[in-house]
């Protein structure tokens, strides 16, 4: 365990292993997203109340799940970076912010497009929606901090603090549908109960969630590798890679 943790602190080790993982996560993402999309669009039955607009769930829910878990991962990375000064955690935090922001935007956008035919409005100032909008601004805040602070160590510290403080928003998003009277429907997946949907509806959703996570892993491996090259560009091993013409 400690040996693994120690290795994880080594950018060179991670750079090499990430390069080996990229094709596998790429294949998994293509497979899961491809079959999930076909299933969701062609084979899943329509909802008896919402009709076919309900098919938006297959991108809305995975995007929203990932938007939140990405932020939690960033907060964990931030804590590791602050406590153990692990450079790799700082790099992950920086690399994840734009990806998380894009998924938060996707969740908000698909929610709006789904809300129009279902609720009759693109946007309502509902607790869940407002908390998600705050999450988007938290992501923007971290991106802005990274862009504004030149010293990478200081930028990482500031971003880590914002990620940890912003973490209070995550349970607010999660429980907003229970705490407040809201238009938004409750969670589709719960750990303790069977989904309220029939299997032919939630199984493609599960496949899409797996596809989104694999895609996220793929993108994070690529981005973290870029970040490693950038931060370690003065080291011997990166210079060797650069001289031999890239990867």
């Amino acid at each position: 365990m400690w040996a693994f943790f120690h290795k994880l602190g080594s950018p060179k080790w991670f750079y090499d292993i990430a390069g080996k993982w990229i094709p596998w996560f790429g294949a998994l993402a293509v497979l899961a997203l491809g079959s999930g999309l076909l299933w969701a669009l062609l084979f899943a039955p329509a909802d008896y109340q919402q009709g076919n607009s309900f098919r938006i769930i297959y991108i809305h829910v995975p995007a929203a799940i990932l938007a939140q878990s990405c932020f939690m991962m960033m907060a964990v990375a931030g804590a590791i970076g602050l406590i153990w000064k692990m450079k790799l955690a700082d790099m992950f935090l920086k690399a994840a912010a734009p990806v998380g922001a894009s998924f938060t935007f996707l969740a908000l956008f698909t929610g709006a497009v789904w809300g129009k035919p279902t609720w009759g409005s693109w946007w309502v100032w509902d607790a869940r929606l407002t908390a998600m909008l705050i999450l988007l601004f938290l992501y923007f805040g971290i991106i802005a901090l990274q862009a504004a602070i030149e010293d990478a160590t200081v930028a990482a510290k500031a971003s880590a603090v914002l990620a940890l403080v912003g973490l209070v928003n995550i349970p607010i998003i999660k429980y907003s549908v229970d705490w407040w009277n809201t238009l938004h429907q409750p969670a589709t997946f719960k750990l303790t109960e069977k989904p309220a949907m029939p299997a032919e509806m939630w199984m493609p959703l599960l496949v899409m969630v797996i596809g989104f996570y694999s895609f996220f892993a793929l993108v994070m491996l690529i981005r973290t590798r870029n970040e490693i090259l950038e931060r370690e560009r003065r080291t011997r091993w990166v210079k060797d890679i650069l001289m031999s013409g890239g990867r």
Binding site: L41, F43, I222
Partner: protein, 59 residues
């Protein structure tokens, strides 16, 4: 298969605009998430390699 014709599939029971708009934005965001870091990474590697070669010839 849920739909019996292509036209029915495109129409999505009258909700075609919403469904396809959502899926189009999904496609754009996924592509951008993948293409941007790959292109940026390649550019940066080329840039750094050039700078490195210049430094080595200078010294």
């Amino acid at each position: 298969m849920y739909f019996s014709s292509l036209a029915e599939f495109v129409a999505m029971g009258g909700h075609g605009v919403y469904v396809w708009l959502a899926y189009a934005v999904f496609a754009v965001i996924m592509c951008a998430n993948l293409v941007v870091p790959v292109v940026q990474g390649k550019q940066r590697v080329r840039q750094l390699a050039q700078r490195l070669k210049r430094e080595e010839t200078a010294s």
